[in-house]
Amino acid sequence: MATLKELSRVEERFVGGHRLCAGCGHGISVRMILNAVEDANVVVGCATGCLEVASTIYPYTAWNCSFIHNAFENAGATISGVEAAYRALKKRGKIDRDFKFIAFGGDGGTYDIGLQSLSGAMERGHNIVYVCLDNGAYMNTGIQRSSATPTGADTTTSPAGKVIPGKQQPRKDLTAIMAAHNISYAAQTAINNWQDVHKKAKKAIEVEGPAFLNVLSPCPRGWRYNTPDIVQITKLAVETRFWPLYEVENGKWKLNYKPKKYVPVEEFLKPQGRFRHLFKPGNEHLIKAIQEEVDSRWLALLERCGETPELPPR
């Protein structure tokens, strides 16, 4: 594992001057992932969303590498086309340099509208990395729910109202869906653990064939927590097992981090304005239901990873 001293010498591929909000998780996630590319040539693809609109406002680009944005739902297909061009031009001797291909999409552009395009690209076996930057809502259009939005969250299309207390459905398990494509590598990671992000990004870039990374990438605006606390909030997501860190390599599931003790999901929910309504007296059952969902998903994951399915000690 490289040290930060070493990694800080790698050329910056996502530079300052982009227009993401102050403290946006996407800036951190993208910098970490592109840092793992080291000095390889890379083409970055990007779905429409906060990252794209903030990073390529003409005539300025924050991408210090080749970059393509096409539309919202087709980052998978677009990067697969670039990769096909690479293979064709290489085969015909028109280019001689090696390239890596990485596409970024938000949870909206990945779990929802771009799922088909991503599924197709993964199934076809292109040598690409697709990174989902999951902030749990359509932030760019003003915090609407997606299928990645956590149960109970207050968004502008799943508002915490008088009758319906926020988003009613459980989250889609996209990482598992991608793993079910039997791709070379699928993993879930979170920016609080930079070593985990780095290791997984490196693996994803290095494996032959398609790789998928799901990165928890907090949005201070949509989640409504204290902006400087991004690492703490992400850590709570992992410690409460809301966002487990695991990887699936050639069909083998592996848990990468096991919290030492049982941390109730409340601790992740409480600092965030989007869950405030859940803490009103009389709503205890809602939090209890969320906890049950987290626990049952955790047990199922442990089983898949060949671990004893048990909750951490309280």
């Binding site: 406002i57 005539p59 080749s66 670039v82 280019i95 390239f99 076809r124």
Partner: protein, 393 residues
Amino acid sequence: MKSKVALTGNEAVAQAMKQINPDVVAAYPITPQTEIVQIFSSFVANGEVDTEFVAVESEHSAMSAAIGAAAGGARAMTATSSQGLALMFEVVYIAASMRLPIVFPVVNRALSGPINIHCDHSDAMGLRDSGVIQLFSENAQEAYDNMIQAVRIAEHSDVRLPVMVNMDGFITSHAMDVLEVLDDETVRNFVGTYVPEDYLLDAENPISIGNFDMYDFYFEHKRQQVEAMKAAKEVIREIGKEFGRISGREYGLIESYKLDDADVAVVVLNSAAGTAKGVADELRANGVKAGVLKPRVYRPFPQDEIREALKGVKAVAVLDRAETFSTCGGPIFADIRNVLYDLKNDIKVVNYVYGLGGRDLRLEHVAQVFEELENIRKTGRVDETVKYLGLRE
């Protein structure tokens, strides 16, 4: 070397694609285009081309992948029809705005609903304002010839735009026709090697493509697209002439058939032009000065050529194989009428919508149109501007 062969339109297009041997083809099957994808896949499987074939999961992804490939620096193609083109809609605009020279045959088929698999032009007309160049083909020969020229047109440095090559579903795509194909080497030399200017896989010159373009610059980039469309007219003419030198078949923006001294004329795209020419010949034998105008290029619109070709006629009927539901006629009608307005010589222009969902256009339909034009010419009176041909009424 040229050789006469019997091929369907789909086979002719696939043959052209084989000879072009593009870097990347990304496509998805749909009737009546399916054969193109199938035949091309077999070329790939049998090593007759060394194209990277991307068997995508939808037409949206087909065009998206073609965009990625073309932006990457590859000569890229796709192909589709009808619903497939409708599904692509969003990204066709993007391909044009990114100035990517993607060539894509469209085998014209009616748009749902109700669902139908037969020919009309509603698919292509839906994208007439997308910024792609649209070529139309009367028969398999023209489809083949257009495919080969399309590559050069699209890639010309003054143009750099996608080119859609249209032919009629089933009528052209599935009917066996005798045509002349060029030998591989002639085609290879004609299309040449694609030299991209700005591309993602240029390691020395990284580039950002598809950027966020707000009110401060978007308008200017759209204006550039218009200029490319304007430049395309001259380029299409030049390449049409050059193609004539290798094939003996020269192409312009329009085909004027017996229009020099014509009193009455029909304007029509694709296969129906053949029918119309046949009828005009018959009428000529009976002393009616009938002619036919067949736009080969619909976008950009060849207004000068059309105005010049029709300036002497007294009455024109525009045949549209698509509805606009504007209640004032089909798409080509609006364009032709607009262009003739400047002549200020009171040419009567009427519209017939025909052939929707594959309804046959019969000789007697066209004869009826010419008869009505003759009446208009003689009386100077138009009773009804927009009519339907072959409709149960």
